[in-house]
Amino acid sequence: MSAITRAEVAHLAHLARLDIPDAELDHYAEQLDVILGAVARVSEVVADDIPPTSHPVPLVNVLRPDVIAPCLSREEALAAASAVEDDRFSVPRILEEEA
């Protein structure tokens, strides 16, 4: 029995825009369970005096001065676009999946 449900896998798949067939939802639920179980073991050794780490390098305030740097040319910027119209990236209709 997975702690992660089929519905949760389907929800995550939707958020990540992955098209996972119904038949495979249980498969991924089991795998995610194993992964979460492995990560959960870390919390077993966490003591209150160990803050969560989000970055391995103990640095703060890495800033750059407010100075303009060269951009890509428009041709370069649009070179990898799958479709271009009016010098803009053309993308499929937006609200389709939310409608």
Binding site: D87, R93, L95
Partner: protein, 503 residues
Amino acid sequence: MSSPKAFVDAIGEFEPVIGMEVHVELGTESKMFCGCPTRFGAPPNTQVCPVCLGLPGSMPVMNAAAIESIIRIGLALNCSIVEWCRMSRKNYFYPDMPKDYQISQYDEPLCVDGYLDVTVATADGPLTVRVEIERVHLEEDTGKLTHSGGSTGRIHGADHSLVDYNRAGIPLVEIVTRPVTGTGALAPEVARAYVTELRDLVRGLGVSDVKMEEGSLRCDANVSLNRPGDSLGTRSETKNVNSLRSVEQAVRSEIQRQAGVLAAGGRVVQETRHFHEDTGVTTPGRSKEQAEDYRYFPEPDLVPLAPSRAWVDELRAALPEQPSVHRARLAHTWGIGDFEMVSLVNAGVLDLVEQSVAAGLAPDAARKWWAGELTRAAGERGVDPADLPVTAQDIIRVEELIAVGALNDQLARQVFEGVIAGEGRPDEVVAARALAVVSDDGALLAAIDDALSAQPDIAEKIRGGKVQAAGAIVGAVMKATRGQADASRVRALLLERLGVEDA
């Protein structure tokens, strides 16, 4: 579908609670995480690079000027500046962000727990409301979408969308209030006064040009209603509120809509709504994704921010005069009271008056025209007074013409009407419309006699000493001369004609 309630009825039955989320695009030279320029109006996709296009392998680096700007905004809003915080990734798939996430701040905003006092005019005089600021955080702006292929150009019915990423990555400061309660019928005005005050404060700091029409200041208005004594109701979030007038209108319209829904026994849905400038009402937008759906996590490509106390103190010491202090100084200089000052602020004309005075106009004249005729003309056209094509020089010229007796106030209004209609500068309008004060006493006396014989009972009253009745005759003469007479001269001639002393 319930119909909206009248505003007065809505307020009679429910207590409105408002909350504002304001986005300010900072006026830095370069973007938040890369060196691309931020100039408004550049040709599409000419201010982009691998970082703001989200190309693989690119790494963001924070703009020091943007950090300084947000700290100054936080300090001016009486916030605490945290000693340590991180940026977060807000994950969502929408083509306005090429990375498929926005770098923002989630549970660790840079500035917290501030306030901004705003003043609104009421029948009992100016009322100051303290709007509490929950947080001020930093994020990056998104690209600009144009919807194509549909008949209306709006999002529904579009075949495909076109994206310009010039704006993507411009530093954006989000300022979030706590729920503002207890404002009752004043809620729409408080909302507007808050955005106005915030705009003036940010402009005073010189960190953004805060132009609502260009999108460098954007406002989302949250509104909920509850019956007295009940806990807070479900809120809606109205976007696309792009002018100060619209802020007030959107809050008012949402109060009326929600009151209609609740009074009919319905429930308010938590959703994003769109405000329509043309109709003044809101319509449903996309349903709001829950915060957990954004799967925020600390941004791994950036190290934490830890502004030193010394730096924060230095920035605090260098803050400019607060708008409220600035206004007090202006009020003193111009010799006006609180009430007049609040009226100018609420009409959105304080800056215009100040600019006109700086250009050489007398403060009284600047106030008279901006707060009077020009505010009225702007309201009639549904625009902000600042958007009228009237310059300080125009008003100065009109005042000169009045001073030499070539125009009176009524004709001056016609001159402004012409200037607003694009007929040219004042002298051109005066010439084209043949506007001139009738100063020929003979013509005026003829008109006075006509008016007296048309209204003999009033003539009798005036003769009998009721001098205040003279207004009716003066009005008739002004009408007969299509406003081209000098009303005070008409009055003097009239009283002389009837042999009555002025009261």
